[in-house]
Structures are given as C-alpha cells and as structure tokens.
C-alpha cells in the first residue's frame, strides 16, 4: 500500500487553496496517495464554477490580494484548480465533501465540481486519515 497524505481543507481563499493544491501535487509526484476532505469554506471553493470567479484571499493579508493576483498572472502560475487536476493526472487524489457542511448550506454533490468524488462524514475521513504519514489542516 502506498503512503498517504491527508488534508482537511477548511479554507476557501485562493492563497490557501494554492498551498493545498501544490502540496497535493508534490505528494502525488512522490508516489503518495492523497486524501482531501472538504469542509466549510473548502466546500464553497469547490462549488460548481466557483473557482473561476473566486478571488478571495486570507483576510490577514487582504491588502496583498490584488498584488498576488497580478504576480500570479504575470508569472503564469497555474491556478489551484489546475494544480489539483495535475495532481490527479499523476496520482491517486481522492476528494470527499463533508456531509454536515453540505447539509448546512443546502447543497448536494451535484452542486460541486465533478472532481469531488463523494460525500462522507468525518468518521470515514478519519478512517482513511488514520494511517496517513502526513496530515494537514489548511
């Protein structure tokens, strides 16, 4: 069995999504399975088409928002969604959405991007995360 990295993706801001997506890419490249559990604002980020217009950035660095966007465009940095798709292309990246958050926001799996594999509860995420070599909360 491959080693695994588990990420609880709580954030929906582009800066943190970018970090999570690059870590997922790195883990997939280094032959690890990746488990991503979307909850709260992480669910918002994966709502259908939301990534196309999401320009939110962590509020503690809100003044950097426009600069970061300009730099990313100028340096042709891949978007976080492109990174996630790239990670899936080279490795096994499983993305699960938190049932509690979906219930809270009145959403179903159909409201999310098709790369979200399934709806799970926290217990089944823990079952997959239990044996992870690397566990992150982002």
């Amino acid at each position: 069995m491959k080693e695994r990295m588990s990420i609880v993706l709580f954030s929906g801001t582009v800066d943190k999504l970018l970090a999570a997506s690059i870590l997922a890419t790195g883990a997939a490249a280094m032959d690890m399975d990746v488990e991503i559990f979307l909850t709260t604002w992480g669910i918002e980020a994966f709502r259908k088409d939301a990534y196309k217009t999401n320009t939110r950035i962590s509020s503690d660095f809100a003044d950097y928002g426009s600069t970061m966007r300009e730099l990313m465009t100028a340096k042709k940095a891949p978007t976080w969604m492109e990174n996630i798709l790239g990670a899936r292309e080279i490795g096994n990246v499983h993305i699960a959405a938190c049932s509690m958050t979906l219930d809270l926001f009145g959403l179903t799996l159909n409201d999310l991007e098709p790369i979200v594999d399934e709806i799970t509860g926290v217990a089944s995420f823990m079952e997959r995360a239990r044996e992870s070599k690397v566990s992150l909360f982002i």
Partner: protein, 82 residues
Amino acid sequence: MSGTIDTAVDKEIDARGSFCPGPLMELIRGMKVLPVGGVLAVLSSDPGSAKDIPAWIAKAGHEFLGAEQHEGYTRYIARKAR
C-alpha cells in the same frame, strides 16, 4: 552540477518560465510517454527544481544523468529506467 553533459537526448522539454510545480509536472508527463531507456532533458528556471527534480527521479526509480547550469536556467537530464 555544471558543465556540459555529453548525452544524446531523445526529447527536450522547455519549461523555463513555468512556475512551481510546473517543471516537475512537465518532467513527469514527459517520462510517461518516453520509452524505457529513453533520455529526457527538461529546462527549468525554477530554483526549486534543483532539489525537486533529482528527488522525484530517485523516487520514481529513473536514472539522473546530471544537470547543466546555463545563464538563468538549468538543464536536467534523466534516463527512463523502468
């Protein structure tokens, strides 16, 4: 790490200007389609590649043939071993 590496390459990918993890992704994609025994060169201007590319090649079980330093970029050369 410097000097010219005297190896014929089957394919060369120019990933200069590509942002992390771009050059590594280009290398992985390139390796996928290369026949076993083939030699691939990747040009990268990302300083992260200096550690990342050899680390990936070792993990993936390929053969790292070396890196040539050029002005503003590095040329990484690897042979597909499996």
